[in-house]
Amino acid sequence: MDESKKRLVQRLMRKIPTKMLKTTLEKWGRLTGEQQRAMDSIQSKWALTENLLAICEENELAVKHLTELEMIYMIDNPDQGMWYAFQLTDPGDDAQSVDLTQFKEQFKSHLRELVREVSIKIKKHTDEAVWIRIAWGDASSHPDHLKPTYVVHYLQTPYVFVTRLTSKQKPMLSQAMVLSTRYQYFKDANLSGRNLTAIRDLLMRKYQQVFPTKYPSPLTERKQTVTNPHVEREQAKPAANRLQMACEAFGGGTLPQLQSAVYKLETKFRDHTNTLMTEREEPFRCVVKFSSTNLLESLKNCASSGIASTPVTPLLSSIPLKGKNYFVITDNGPGPSSQMRQTQN
């Protein structure tokens, strides 16, 4: 078996954990019953790899079959690696009427025109998502299957999620997407994270949202702690208000798991007790990064516990509102990649 196929199999076996192997291979469906049973009985990863290499020889499997296996695994386990969100803007008149077959044909032909050697695989997943696997090559080399780019596009929405993409590959992907979906621009949505499901839910609002209400909140505090009854009575209303506003800003129930948010501040220094600095013309440049295992949950707790003042500042509530986690904040008008207007305190 040639080197590149062997390396691909080895890479796949390293990526797929043993416990997921059985189901993934079954879904793949390219093993005979006997071969499948043989794989199930082996425990060690190394032996499994050797066995799979032998099976590939036996069944005369090609690279395209192996990439199929990789794609099956990725689709079932999308919450790994880094995903970056992009948005298509300025739809043409017929953008809404693009259907799956049209999109597939057009995307493949456009990308093939732009990149001489490229291997494209498109699969539609059950939940309206179109998964695309791209292995890039160029005039002098075959497609590199060890460094593929995965693209997930939800038809009928302008959202596209992409894994690794070099600066050389970006314009080509951008062009192909724009032409096949009939939009004008393919822009960076300033949202990134490890969980595809999380950033998708955030961008497409698929999480429990809480709307402002004038009446006593029906939401109850999830954690019941034992406190002094006097304190409880006194704090009940302010605590309920804080919780309500925290949920309005970030959502109720389980929140999408984001790991970090970065704010590049280029605003003037703000502190009325320091006249020297406030008179300064130049901005006070700093970068603030918030990180946590579940950022939105942390921020919501900051708001409900009072560490962050409520109502929650637009800078923080923009994360779920605009579905972004990278912001450039300037004093006057929209910055180059943000639409934030700094409120005057």
């Binding site: 704010y263 501040l265 605003t267 220094f269 703000r270 502190d271 007790t273 320091n274 020297l276 600095m277 300064r280 130049e282 006070f284 440049r285 700093c286 970068v287 603030v288 990064k289 918030f290 990180s291 946590s292 295992t293 579940n294 950022l295 949950e297 942390s298 921020l299 707790n301 900051c302 516990s305 560490i307 962050a308 003042s309 929650v312 500042t313 800078l315 923080l316 904040i329 305190n345």
Partner: protein, 360 residues
């Protein structure tokens, strides 16, 4: 009192039972026992009432006279800090003997199976003690002592040289002269202990020191105030050599824990710092000293700017780490000097912190 062959000299807890041939009665008691007898001996009662200095001289790019090769031993490594009580009868002239004694001690402990195995090294260790000259600030400071432990990596060939697997140093920079002069004659004060390397070796070295010089080690954390001082002192150096950025890492007590990394551009941090400085009241050619109020205003300004944007009060959390191009300091007691130029001022602050931890 002569030293006998055994290198391990234990001072008995009950001093009355032992007859020492020392002329002066007060030297009978070891330093550790003085804790109980403090009132009788009248040792520096004022130290416990002392606080961290509220004003300091601005750091200058010192013309350090330490040799470059010794400097490379100290910079660019992250050190774990501990404080150590004064050493009884530690002699700077007996370093070779100490090297042999410590090697033997480590070998003995390993044989007994008590020591923790150091990963990836063979069992033979060679210890070297050396003096680091040129680092002291005042006449009363004892000379810095540097210790290095070498060993061969696990699968090394016969003739491959040993590599350093652990280093540590004891130092006292600009220690409080009142305190230093009040110590009895036989005590050497090197309160700041920095170590880097396997934890097992660190505990062995500490045990040996405890047995040989009757001292105590303890963890030295860098308090919030000290971290603020470091922020201000380092930012103050911006006019002479760029700090590149001032980075602070805070953690907020929410579930799940939220970490905030607040990085300010060097120039902007410098401008804010200059704006909170009081007018220069020092004489000609003298550097104005920095007061704690200025440091706190600096911090307040940074927090206020943050609050104006995020309406999140950083005081609710704790400051864990401060770093600039000159070095980094962690609340848990880790320090790193990236640049030797302003090292001395940082060490002065840390020596002060260590001295404040002295039991008496």
């Amino acid at each position: 009192m002569e030293r006998h062959q055994n290198s391990v000299m234990r001072t008995p807890l009950n001093s009355v039972a032992v007859q020492r041939r020392s002329k002066n009665k007060s030297y009978r008691l070891s330093y550790r026992n003085r804790i109980g007898a403090a009132s009788r001996l009248g040792l520096t009662p004022g130290l416990t009432a002392r606080r961290l200095n509220t004003s300091r001289k601005a750091p200058k790019s010192n013309k350090i006279t330490v040799t470059t090769e010794q400097l490379t031993l100290l910079v660019k490594t992250e050190w774990k800090l501990s404080y150590v009580t004064p050493l009884y009868r530690f002699r700077h002239t007996q370093l070779k003997i100490y090297s042999r004694q410590l090697s033997a001690f480590i070998a003995a402990e390993k044989q007994q199976g008590l020591a923790v195995d150091v990963e990836g090294t063979q069992n033979t260790f060679r210890v070297s003690f050396s003096l680091v000259l040129g680092m002291t600030e005042s006449v009363d400071d004892a000379v810095t002592v540097h210790i290095q432990i070498h060993s061969k990596p696990l699968f090394a060939k016969q003739d491959e040289p040993q590599k350093p697997v652990w280093s540590g140093w004891l130092t006292c920079i600009n220690g409080n002269p009142e305190y230093l002069r009040s110590l009895p004659k036989d005590f050497i004060c090197l309160p700041l202990f920095c170590s880097s390397g396997a934890g097992g070796l660190t505990s062995l070295v500490k045990s040996w020191f405890q047995q040989s010089f009757d001292c105590c080690f303890g963890p030295l954390e860098i308090s919030h105030t000290s971290l603020q001082w470091l922020m201000a002192l380092w930012t103050n150096c911006q006019s002479e050599s760029s700090i590149r950025q001032l980075k602070m890492i805070w953690t907020l007590p929410v579930e799940p824990q939220l970490q905030v990394t607040y990085t300010v551009d060097a120039e902007d941090a410098w401008e804010l710092w200059s704006s909170v400085r009081k007018k220069n009241t020092a004489g000609e050619g003298e550097e104005n000293s920095i007061d704690i109020e200025e440091v706190m205003s600096f911090m307040q300004g940074l927090k206020a700017h943050f609050f104006r944007h995020f309406r999140l009060d950083l005081s609710a959390g704790s400051l864990n780490e401060v770093s600039t191009a000159l070095g980094s300091a962690k609340h848990s007691g880790m320090i790193k000097f990236s640049n030797s130029k302003y090292m001395i001022t940082t060490l002065m602050l840390l020596t002060e912190c260590a001295l404040l931890k002295m039991p008496i």
